[in-house]
Symmetry: C2
Subunit: 360 residues, 2 copies
Amino acid sequence: MAATFPLPPGSTIGILGGGQLGRMLALAAARLGLDVVILTPDEGSPASRVSKATIVAAYDDPAALATLARAADVVTYEFENVPVRAVEALMALGVAVAPGPDALRVAQDRVEEKTFLNAANAPTVTFAQVDSAADIAAALPRLGLPALLKTRREGYDGKGQAWIRDATGVEAAFAAVGAAPSVLEARAAFRRELSIIAARGRDGEAAFYPLSENVHEGGVLRTTLAPAEVTPAVRREAERIARAVLGRLDYVGVMGIELFDLGEGGLLVNEIAPRVHNTGHWTQDGCEVDQFELHIRAVAGWPLGDTTPMVQVEMTNLLGDEASDWLTIAAEPNARLHLYGKGEPRPGRKMGHVNRVKSR
Amino acid sequence: MAATFPLPPGSTIGILGGGQLGRMLALAAARLGLDVVILTPDEGSPASRVSKATIVAAYDDPAALATLARAADVVTYEFENVPVRAVEALMALGVAVAPGPDALRVAQDRVEEKTFLNAANAPTVTFAQVDSAADIAAALPRLGLPALLKTRREGYDGKGQAWIRDATGVEAAFAAVGAAPSVLEARAAFRRELSIIAARGRDGEAAFYPLSENVHEGGVLRTTLAPAEVTPAVRREAERIARAVLGRLDYVGVMGIELFDLGEGGLLVNEIAPRVHNTGHWTQDGCEVDQFELHIRAVAGWPLGDTTPMVQVEMTNLLGDEASDWLTIAAEPNARLHLYGKGEPRPGRKMGHVNRVKSR
């Protein structure tokens, strides 16, 4: 049965995925009096431990999707590698899904993503579609060296990527990404990495947090400082891009948009994530309404709420064993510790984060 | 098996009670990577919907307590009418319970409470133990008129109380409280109602939030404004009282202490609540570490964390149908809505609250 928006308190939000983003979405939903049901293939997931119910099944399991469709008034997802057919199956069962399948489809394929972005007047690096080593060799004269080869699908946090530094490295790079369908990207001569967390409501209302400045190491986010120091022109350009991207997708929910700051007000979009985003975790302790609540509000058809920053925050990811410093961090003044309830601190695994308030 | 403190992330907190306080405690525990198991007699309780597991049984059900003792590394409670024998049974099973049974025993009986407070050098109104109408008549010359009759046990939010305005009203008042064992209190000539939310850790470390000013209507809290405007002398006196009360109980956790402000720096303790407290809800949006996280930290043996206020907040309870204004409140700038996931908006029932940030 189709839901009527705004969903009143007591309604149920379905979430595809049970990781830390789903967990923090569930906590935000709870604050607003909304229940959460999780669909995840994993037993004992971080999100399931703070949710009303969990369906443990593959994302495209028809019986599981039917159960979720019956239980939920609206469904969202916490990561972009949910199968598009799962979202389409839910919609065929009459349940609203936000963000919709278009955003997922675009975000799952780096060639489609960049093609979409450029069509939306959101600039990216120059790129080429790669199905063979020959495609790489053919594109290099146009893209220049070095160039970055990435698989079209799946890779995240720096996985499935290889730099090509000279023409002799073409075969090795293609082998390094498993000879998978890929995209070859020109190098962006950027000064720093920024991101904007944006949201769009069911009525088209848009909301933006101030930009954050992000530092990655080995392809994994280490820190976010927000609000970042940016010129008004940069902020305007980031918001123009976000508005264009969200509008063209008829998007509902929060989106993370990673940007390269070229200086002189120029920005390129690195990638978009159709979900709450690691570079938005600072909002939990920096803003009246955080990105998780903002997403729940958007998906539930509520007014988006206040994204004004109250303080400047530095967010640091706790990777692997770094989370074993919890006791020290818990004793730090001006620090807010967030742990995800994951068991094994495998190297590089995101176990939690800390938001340090920089100024009041 | 006895737990070792501090409890590491991944440990389990047991909570007796499944209402909104248990729910907000569970949300705070989740932020710190701790799991929660609820014991409540009610199906579908607010807390159970954000917890890893729920045991639905009477608080003193031996099998349920044994299950909870096996599941939890430490147990706490969210309201003061949990049977003391349930806490004692858990301790006999080897699980730590915080706050301990002494705090519960004192808080459950208004005569014991006032006797304890005065012994702890925490001043209260003059009072008399009442077991008959004759006891009332005998005490009135000492206490003066009007005087307030309250049952020793159970009554809360203004229930089980009757004012005696002249000597002819004695029999009627005693009948009004069901002829139950009671306490008769002299009227406090107070200017306003304040409270202090205090905490004590396992190592004796104490923490205090700034005082709040509270407005009750019909015995039910309507609003809290915090930090309240108080003189340094009043704050010192409130902290002295809190320190004395917590220390004498060898208390672990958060306590709410309701105070009458007599002016000129004089304070009387109205009552103590051995738990997180409605007048501390403002800390969710006013402080780095809120009262729920502070309680979980104390109970888990963590450092207590930062209770410094960042802003002034006005907390307003949403009673009964007032929660149906959720959509309007959600659209208000500087307002943070908290809803408890309760089904029926019965008149006077606490359905949620809103924290309005007054200054930045």
